[in-house]
């Protein structure tokens, strides 16, 4: 999280504000920069925020205060940012989150289901009508679920950007389960409609995965 202090060379209070915020940022591990309104960046910020007063304080690109704060006021203003940084650190923990753990577990179950094709047909890719069912239990059930679990776990850690959580991973998982099972069952039962519905649901789960991962790869600039 970045702290920016917008100042003016002709402002007698700005130096005091800079001292307070430079110390607060250093104490709590935040990046800190001072932007003068005569610089192009400062002029752009002033225009964007419609600023009338300096010094002005931005935390994470958002205007949080104007004027000179005491060290105690600075600490109070930093609390939400500190909490957000803490939450993000938890999200970036080493262990799997519950959704990713379930993706990985489900992948192993689908691998074992796909392997049944070996017992039933004597070949993983048989020549009979069940071929698409077992092949897609492997590719969609095992490989796709592994990608869901591992990529959702690793990419936020590689990039340092958070992934969309909340209801999204569970919706993605529900659609993927219904889709893969429906698709495979459709082929095994000879029900074309079930095959199509299964394919559409699986595709929707992939679309949600892309929706979740995209801001991890290409975050919006503050």
């Amino acid at each position: 999280m970045k702290i920016e202090l917008i100042v003016s060379g002709s402002c007698p209070f700005c130096l005091e504000a800079e001292k307070v915020w430079r110390a607060a940022a250093a104490d709590h591990g935040f990046e800190f920069s001072v932007v003068d309104i005569i610089q192009p960046e400062g002029a752009a910020l002033t225009q964007r925020l419609n600023l009338q007063t300096v010094p002005a304080l931005l935390i994470g690109g958002k205007l949080r205060a104007v004027g000179v704060q005491s060290p105690e006021e600075a600490l109070t203003l930093l609390l939400p940012a500190r909490q957000e940084a803490h939450d993000r650190m938890q999200q970036m923990g080493v262990a799997f989150s519950p959704d990713n753990r379930w993706f990985i577990l489900a992948a192993q179950a689908y691998l074992m289901l796909a392997g049944l094709g070996l017992l039933m047909n004597g070949s993983f890719l048989s020549d009979n009508a069940a071929r698409p069912a077992f092949m897609h239990l492997f590719t969609l059930g095992f490989m796709l679920f592994m990608i869901y679990g591992l990529a959702s776990h690793m990419l936020p850690r590689f990039t340092g950007n958070p992934i969309r959580e909340g209801v999204w991973p569970w919706l993605q998982m529900g659609l993927a389960h219904c889709g893969v099972i429906g698709y495979a069952a459709g082929y095994l039962a000879g029900r074309h409609t079930l095959i199509v519905v299964g394919a559409v649901l699986t595709w929707l789960s992939l679309a949600i995965f892309a929706f979740r991962v995209w801001p991890v790869l290409w975050p919006e600039k503050a």
């Binding site: 199509v196 699986t202 595709w203 992939l206 892309a210 991962v213």
Partner: protein, 136 residues
Amino acid sequence: MHKRNRLFVSIALVYGLLGGLIAIVRLIDPSLIPGNVPRAHGHIMLLGFILMMIYGIALHVLPRFGGFPLYSEQMADWQLYLANAGLPLMIAGWLGWRDMLVMVGGVLTYGAIVLFGLNMILTVRARGQGRTISVQ
């Protein structure tokens, strides 16, 4: 994460959605998309989705897990160009029944595979002064 590796993962997602979409369209009405759609679908998913996802993630993690920097960033850049020139040609060849396009696309795709393989071998098996990372 290097921009090229993020591009690999992003392109993998696009190919995954595209490959799934043409399979769904084919399931609904086989006459809507001409050409050898099952083969195009299979290769979009395997070479476009799975392989490019692996490219993006492996180029990031294997040097780190191996303890050496990536042998050649330039090879990895060319891998991106070749992989993304080759697969569209293959797809166009299958959907347009043009064997020549499939062949040229296959050669380019194979070029990307070889570049990746060599780059990974030379990275993970890196030897010699100046390439090792000190543990002290």
